[in-house]
């Protein structure tokens, strides 16, 4: 009996020692660098691997967070403040307040508003259509309707409305990852500050043509008349290349510009319904 046990002990001790020595050297040579906090942070992240943070995936972002010294410029749009708060807790740091954003489609070229002049019959890809020609309407800036943005969205926050032939963003689902913004060859989608009750006021047009052609191509185009710029008390509206733009961080949702627009290109969404609300705005809200 005892001999086996003794041999066993001797044997294992020798092996154990050997392993200890080898591994000691291993430990010397290989720095075991992985910070355990990376795992923790990684777990706190949503795991969507959407790339909205600008990194290759959640784990990569977790590493970046752990290695960083401050959270400046680092944000997970998917998890938002909640997640960043958790991460801050893990890393024992101050979270940086980042305003939540939401994506907005700045085109209202429904078949009613912008008459179709041709039918696109190529591969269903906005980028291909965009490189082929100006598009199915007289507007060479507006939505091509092939849904590249929709397929880019990993959060099921978009769909193509078959009636308007425009993409619709579901505010509840959208995490502002910006994938759609990158996907759109015409830069129609914009990430804007998310307001209370998802209220929005924005110029739903990206047409840079002069008033005449713009109007001719689409009934609700921005014609660059500049009335809204004048009326805005907060300097939130700028005009460039015949196109008005409302800065969502300056806009205070006073709604003064909305009735000014002769073409109804400025949409207000999420406000209690008032008098002369254009039908299409309502349409865009409900979905």
């Amino acid at each position: 009996m005892s001999s086996t046990v003794l041999l066993t002990i001797a044997m294992l001790s020798v092996l154990g020692l050997l392993a200890a020595v080898i591994l000691y050297f291993v430990a010397q040579k290989f720095k075991v660098v992985e910070d355990p906090r990376i795992d923790l942070v990684n777990e706190a992240l949503p795991g969507a691997n959407c790339g909205g943070c600008g990194y290759a995936g959640c784990r990569a972002f977790a590493e970046a967070l752990v290695k960083s010294t401050s959270f400046e410029g680092l944000n997970c749009p998917v998890g938002g403040a909640d997640t960043m708060g958790k991460v801050a807790l893990i890393l024992d740091r101050q979270p940086v307040a980042v305003e939540p954003e939401v994506a907005v489609v700045r085109c209202n070229g429904t078949p009613d508003n912008a008459a179709r002049t041709s039918y696109y019959d190529g591969a269903m890809s906005c980028r291909i259509a965009h490189s082929l020609y100006g598009g199915t309407t007289g507007c060479h800036y507006g939505c091509l309707g092939c849904g590249d943005c929709v397929s880019a969205c990993k959060f099921d926050a978009m769909y193509m409305n078959p009636v308007t032939e425009l993409p619709v963003i579901l505010d509840d689902q959208c995490v502002a990852c910006g994938a759609c913004v990158k996907a759109c060859p015409r830069s129609i989608i914009e990430l804007r500050k998310r307001n209370k009750k998802d209220r929005k006021i924005y110029v739903s047009c990206v047409n840079k043509d002069k008033g005449g052609p713009a109007r001719k191509a689409c009934k609700v185009a921005c014609i660059g008349c500049g009335k809204c710029v004048k009326v805005c008390p907060y300097d939130a509206i700028t005009m460039e290349n015949n196109l008005a733009f409302i800065d969502s961080y300056k806009c205070k949702l006073c709604r003064k510009c909305v009735p000014e627009c002769p073409t109804l290109a400025i949409l207000e969404i999420g406000f209690p319904v008032k008098e002369q609300k254009p039908a299409e705005a309502a349409e865009a809200t409900t979905d």
Partner: protein, 333 residues
């Protein structure tokens, strides 16, 4: 004059050839062999074929409709081809429920799991066949003997395939010459007078189908020819080396699934290489593995396995054997 014109990138014309036409071309090419099977095996052949085709199409439809929730595309005809070929690869007295399992495996597992037409790395009909062969070896190896048209189905008289006789015999130590007495003559083999899977027996009918496919440019010669030639060469060498142990090449070419496999199954676009060079390597691989299994393996017949094994190499062949690009590369800039 405000016509709404269609706009699309070039080209603006397209060949009249379509996937559907190709698939139905294969169906047409299979008709002679089907006719031969019905002639030899009667009702059984009809029942097996119908069951197989209907269940393959049904499985594809149901999977697309209820599991994948995509638009069913059974009308492209590929499920019909798979169904036919699955039927061709089983004995004509196979119970209906086994055929249905085969269809589920072929279409459900080997095809739709990977994404449907065009995605599957392995030949669906063969996956179905091999699955059944291994799962139901008894039923899958009870070969009805050919006779004139017969209305009976499950009660058919069964016997061994010529390859079975050969393989058994050689293992039992009989000489090939004496075994050759027990099998049909080469001419009979050519016309299909032998036991075997429903559609594989009639070499003549299969060759007619093959010629049709070649004529319609549905397949190219590279795969069938390289398979047949490599089988002939390999068995020829063995035969010359020791004719008492190995059968002659003619026997090997006319028996088992070689013709069916070489003409109809190894040529499946989806699961075969894209380049001619790749096709030839693939064909030689199939030929060699077939003979390997036939002469030294446990199974008397190896075409199905050989094709599946070479299917597995197809991605590598596609990756490393590229068409000759136009123009040598120049360094510049």
């Amino acid at each position: 004059m405000n016509k709404i014109l269609n706009v699309s990138p070039s080209p603006h014309i397209s060949t009249p050839e379509t996937t559907r036409r190709l698939m139905y071309g294969v169906v047409i090419a299979l008709i002679p062999a089907l006719a031969a099977s019905i002639y030899y095996f009667g009702m059984g052949a009809i029942i097996v074929t119908l069951t197989s085709v209907v269940s393959c199409v049904a499985v594809e439809y149901l999977v697309q409709k209820f599991i994948l929730k995509t638009r069913p595309s059974v009308s492209d005809g590929s499920a019909v081809v798979t169904g036919l070929l699955l039927a061709f690869n089983v004995p004509s007295n196979l119970p209906i429920w086994i055929i249905i399992i085969g269809a589920i495996i072929s279409i459900g597992v080997a095809k739709m799991t990977f994404g449907g037409l065009g995605s599957n790395p392995f030949n669906p009909a063969l996956v179905g066949r091999v699955f059944l062969l291994i799962s139901f070896p008894v039923q899958m190896t009870s070969w009805p003997v050919p006779s004139g048209f017969r209305t009976g189905y499950l009660d058919a008289v069964t016997g061994a395939t010529p390859l079975g006789v050969l393989s058994e015999g050689v293992k039992a130590g009989e000489s090939v010459a004496s075994l050759m007495e027990k099998v049909p003559t080469h001419m009979q083999l050519f016309y299909g007078y032998m036991g075997g899977s429903m559609g594989e027996i009639a070499a003549a009918a299969l060759i007619i189908g093959g010629i049709y496919l070649l004529w319609k440019k549905i397949i190219s010669w590279h795969i069938p020819v390289s398979i047949l030639v490599s089988v002939a060469l390999f068995t020829g060498i063995l035969w010359l080396a020791d004719p008492t142990k190995y059968a002659d090449p003619g026997f090997h070419l006319l028996t088992g699934g070689i013709m069916l496999g070489a003409i109809f199954m190894a040529t499946d676009y989806v699961t075969s290489p894209m380049t001619h060079k790749g096709m030839i390597i693939y064909g030689i691989g199939i030929g060699v593995i077939t003979v390997l299994i036939r002469t030294w393996g446990a199974y008397p017949e190896g075409v199905s396995f050989a094709i599946l094994i070479m299917n597995a190499f197809v991605p590598l062949l596609n990756m490393y054997i590229k068409p000759k690009r136009f123009g040598k590369e120049v360094k510049h800039g």
